[in-house]
């Protein structure tokens, strides 16, 4: 080993001595060209990976078990979103309807769509719950009361859920492979920027809206509403 090292040192010293009078380091002379090129290649690779490939790899796409048509349902029902996503007598929110709620109308096949056929034969007739994947599912550590926001705060469904009520098809559910959370929590844009209120539902989004609507900062440490508002 030591012999090899010695040889290398000798070569390096020799080269330096030989090229000493021509400043190789100047850009015009070429050696900086490849260096710069490699820098930009590296930069480009990172940018492509970071902005293009990484988001593709990070999320897995899963189709919903039934291609649900929100638009059609909203047209059919009388009470808008609350027809199916209602508040229970005790004030708790029903969230995703159970099969028993669906059966009230879908006892038998309605219409001729493929989705309806799948729904009635696979779930209604078998009495199984549809394993819907919830786009807006918050982590378990978050306490969220729909009643406080919708009834007391008078916030519309769209503020947080967007225009899902106008969709013809159930879009694919994208799950973060690392965290297991829905992509909707971080937001569609990998950059994290958002234009609309519903585009991202991280803690800062909750806190920002709380501050805006209540005008209150109760925690000195976080400069937001205190932790226990959501983390109970």
């Amino acid at each position: 080993m030591s012999t090899m090292d010695d040889n290398e040192n000798a070569v390096l010293e020799g080269t330096a001595g030989h090229d000493g009078d021509v400043p190789e380091d100047s850009p015009e002379n070429g050696p900086w060209g490849p260096v710069l090129l490699f820098f930009f290649v590296g930069l480009a690779i990172s940018l492509i990976v970071g902005w293009g490939i990484f988001p593709q790899l990070l999320y897995s796409k899963k189709e919903q078990p039934v291609d649900f048509n929100h638009k059609l349902h909203v047209e059919e029902v009388e009470n808008g979103c609350e027809s199916c996503h209602y508040f229970r007598a005790d004030g708790s929110f029903s969230g995703i309807p159970k099969i028993s709620d669906c059966i009230e109308c879908h006892e038998d096949t309605m219409g001729e769509s493929e989705a309806e056929h799948v729904f009635v034969t696979e779930y209604v007739h078998k009495g199984r719950e549809v394993p819907w994947m919830v786009y807006a599912k918050q982590p378990d550590c978050v306490f969220f009361s729909h009643a406080a926001h919708v009834k007391m705060g008078e916030i519309s469904c769209e503020t947080c859920h967007g225009h899902i009520g106008e969709s013809d098809h159930a879009r694919a559910y994208e799950e973060n492979r690392i965290t297991g959370y829905s992509r909707d929590i971080w937001g569609e844009r990998i950059s994290g920027f958002k234009k609309e209120t519903w585009e991202r539902m991280k803690m800062d989004d909750c806190a920002g809206c709380h501050e805006e609507m209540t005008g209150r900062i109760t925690s000195v440490q976080t400069q937001y509403d205190a932790c226990f508002v959501c983390h109970k």
């Binding site: 070429g30 050696p31 060209g33 490849p34 260096v35 710069l36 090129l37 490699f38 820098f39 930009f40 290649v41 590296g42 930069l43 480009a44 690779i45 990172s46 940018l47 990976v49 970071g50 902005w51 990484f54 990070l58 229970r88 005790d90 708790s92 029903s94 969230g95 982590p139 378990d140 550590c141 973060n176 690392i178 965290t179 297991g180 959370y181 971080w186 990998i190 950059s191 994290g192």
Partner: protein, 747 residues
């Protein structure tokens, strides 16, 4: 173009610079921090519809009403039922942690048959059909051989439809041997039987009393209905009700009382009679004793024999000075306490040590009851009430064939109710007696709602007695000590899965029945004991079968509760809110038709003689109870074990409390290991040097030293029952051993 080392360094720089311009590092940092919190073993409760179900707790005799919060079909929290007459929204640590009894790993999941030796823990799964057939065949065989009286049953209670079904099975089958586990209730029942002439339960109107004199009762440590008493204690503090705790150690109750009287243990009867002496001397007794009592003054019986009255006995033998030497309490203090007690508007004296599972001598219990009688605190607001035994189980007497009639005629194994123990109903303490007074031996034993192999004193002798019983069937939901020693297990649903009436909360002053309703559907292949008993009876056939006309237990319960059923389903309980006991002649069914002071009981002072020789065993060991450990038939769940102090159990080491003075004599330092020996056995313990205990006394917590259950409970501490033996009260035949002589030596 020359590609050299610098190019690659540059590429690296480019990659790095590019990376920070993308969301990749920031997003990865965020995601990995979330990932680190989302371990797959972190329990995440399911999101579902939340609901509350009403039920009644049967884990102790307290009979609390419960509201169980459910999410979907899973029970997630146990709460007290608001406005329930017993616990008014409160719940104890055992009730709170009872979900672990439902979902924990110690449950028995299917019927099992023993395949190894007894206690080896080798079991074979069998079907319910096979289990029922096995029990029915065994019982049927003994019946054919004319040995029906040699079959016994041990249960935690004798009240309600399930114990009554068991008793009915035995009666129709031909056995008089139904046993209830012993407790201070036995002494109270015998006292009421002798002094009032009624078969009744003792109830305490604790909400309306203004002076409580407790003879060692753990008022806030599980005595009576535990949650009811805790709430009463809070009200006493608010209303200024004085609580005097007579107890040789500073229990939690003593610590929270207004006055702690550290008595020499076992002399409580003398103190009660000494107080009676002062009351009589000061002429502070109420009219009740002169108007409605018999045996208060000297009297002459039908044979013309002169009999001593209670007054004369007490005046002659229990002066404060004399009592002071017996009890170790100054005479002036005895006089003051007596005056305070008699001077209060609604005083109440209570007995039954600790949670009420420690035996009480008959004389002590009757002396305390006599104190209540002297001040008129009997069957009046704020006093002790006679509460009638539940009377809703009105089944026609079962038809008995010849075999059954002959079996019943053999008489009880323990002689309870016979001439040598006329006031006792159950004498389980006689089961294990070495000098056996038993007329015959048992061939089969059925056990439910009880853990005799753990809870009865002198566990070794009990085990020996069990060894002599060829067939033991357990209906337990858990592998408790007794069940581990059984031959066949027919697991009952646990209480949160079970429909059952829960009558007569211990110490509650009004008739009341709670309804245990299935909060969740049964999780394993278990079966309601009521259904199992009906099936066994059917299989035995003949008159035994026809004694059970119900198709299943639910029908039995519904028809038994009759018009109470709809209200009980709706409210979770039924009670006779307006109940008031009669305190005139109508309430007494003694031969004289009055309240009676028994000459036999009071004539001489008879303290319970503890087992063991004083020279060999200079110390006295007593058990104690507290709210953080279950001392009943069900073992403490892990949540409870986590709340127990390091001064009671640390790791696997159990502690005994010892006075610093005694510790110094024995050269033992706090926390040091020692060997505790009683005539019943020897164990390793550690000492907890504690100022709040009388010198010469050792105290050990009940509820430890299980060999059964899970790692959280098994092997922790020492089972104090294994160190104690029963001492029969000569007057009642009941076990009266509140302690045992002991010695402590350095390990």
């Amino acid at each position: 173009m020359k590609i050299d080392r610098r190019c690659f360094l540059s590429l690296g720089m480019g990659l790095s610079a590019g990376a920070v311009l993308t969301p990749l590092p920031w997003k990865l940092a965020d995601d990995s921090s979330i990932w680190s919190q989302n371990w797959e073993w972190t329990p995440v409760p399911k999101d579902d519809v939340a609901s509350y179900e009403k039920t009644a707790c049967s884990l102790c005799p307290g009979g609390c009403g419960l509201l169980v919060r459910k999410v979907g079909n899973r029970a997630v929290k146990v709460e007290g039922m608001p406005r329930h007459p017993v616990n008014n929204g409160g719940v104890c640590t055992l009730g709170l942690s009872s979900l672990q009894l439902l979902y924990g790993p110690t449950r028995i999941k299917t019927p099992l048959k023993r395949i190894g030796n007894r206690g080896d823990g080798k079991w074979e799964k069998i079907s319910w059909r096979a289990a029922i057939e096995a029990v029915a065949k065994k019982l049927g065989d003994h019946r054919k051989k004319g040995e029906s009286h040699m079959v016994a049953a041990i249960m935690g209670s004798d009240r309600g439809t399930v114990p009554q079904l068991m008793a009915r099975l035995l009666t129709a089958y031909g056995s008089p041997n139904f046993f209830r586990m012993p407790s201070a209730q036995d002494a109270y029942e015998s006292t009421l039987y002798l002094m009032h002439g009624v078969q009744a339960m003792a109830g305490f109107d604790v909400d309306n009393t203004d002076y409580v004199l407790s003879f060692g009762s753990g008022l806030i440590e599980g005595w009576g209905a535990p949650v009811h008493m805790l709430q009463a204690n809070s009200r006493w503090k608010a209303t200024g009700t004085k609580v005097v705790q007579v107890e040789p150690r500073l229990s939690n109750t003593a610590a929270k009382s207004d006055e702690w009287v550290a008595i020499i243990p076992g002399t409580e009867a003398a103190l009660a009679l000494g107080l009676a002496h002062v009351i009589l001397k000061e002429n502070k007794q109420c009219d009740f004793v002169s108007n409605a009592a018999f045996g208060f003054d000297d009297w002459v019986d039908e044979n013309g024999q002169q009999k001593k009255g209670f007054k004369q006995i007490v005046m002659a033998s229990y002066s404060p000075e004399k009592v002071a030497t017996i009890t170790g309490i100054a005479a002036e203090k005895i006089v003051r306490l007596a005056k305070e007690f008699a001077g209060a508007k609604r005083p109440l004296a209570v007995a039954g040590r600790g949670s009420g599972n420690t035996p009480v001598g008959f004389q002590e219990m009757m002396a305390v009851h006599a104190l209540n009688a002297l001040v008129g605190s009997i069957n009046r607001p704020g006093g002790i009430w006679t509460v009638p035994e539940p009377d809703y189980v009105k089944w026609p007497a079962p038809e008995m064939d010849q075999i059954a009639a002959k079996g019943i005629q053999q008489g009880r194994l323990d002689g309870a109710g016979s001439s040598n123990a006329p006031y006792a109903r159950f004498l389980l303490n006689r089961l294990s007696q070495a000098d056996t007074k038993n007329k015959y031996s048992l061939k089969a034993l059925l056990v439910s709602g009880a853990n005799p192999l753990y809870s009865l004193p002198d566990t070794k002798a009990v085990q020996k007695a069990f060894d002599g019983i060829p067939f033991i069937a357990s209906f337990s939901s858990y592998f408790d000590e007794t069940t581990q020693y059984a031959d066949i297990i027919l697991p009952n649903h646990v209480f949160l899965e079970r429909l059952e009436d829960v009558p007569a909360p211990r110490g509650f002053h009004k008739p009341m029945i709670g309804l245990s309703q299935p909060v969740v559907s049964s999780k394993y292949d278990t079966r309601h004991i009521g259904d199992a008993l009906i099936a066994i009876a059917r299989k035995i056939g003949g008159t035994v079968s026809s004694a059970f006309p119900w198709n299943n237990y639910e029908t039995c319960l519904r028809t038994t509760l009759a018009d109470k059923w709809p209200m009980m389903v709706k409210n979770g309980f039924w009670w006779n809110q307006s109940y008031l006991p009669s305190n005139n002649g109508a309430g007494f069914h003694t031969p004289s038709g009055k309240f009676e002071f028994s000459e036999t009981v009071f004539s001489t002072y008879q303290p319970v003689a503890l087992e063991g020789d004083e020279s060999a065993y200079p110390l006295v060991l007593v058990p104690y109870d507290h709210m953080r450990l279950s001392s009943g038939y069900v073992g403490s769940p892990p949540f409870m074990m986590k709340t127990v102090s390091d001064k009671i159990v640390k790791g696997n080491d159990g502690f005994v409390e010892i006075n610093p003075e005694t510790a110094k004599k024995l050269k033992l330092a706090d926390g040091q290991s020692a060997v505790l020996t009683t005539p019943k056995g020897s164990v390793n313990v550690r000492v907890n040097v504690f100022d709040g205990i009388r010198p010469g006394l050792l105290a050990m917590s009940r509820g430890l030293g299980h060999t059964a259950y899970d790692d959280y409970l098994a092997g922790k501490g020492v089972n104090v029952h294994s160190l104690m033996g029963p001492v029969e009260d000569p007057l009642s035949g009941l076990d009266a051993a509140w302690g045992i002589r002991a010695k402590l030596t350095k390990a």
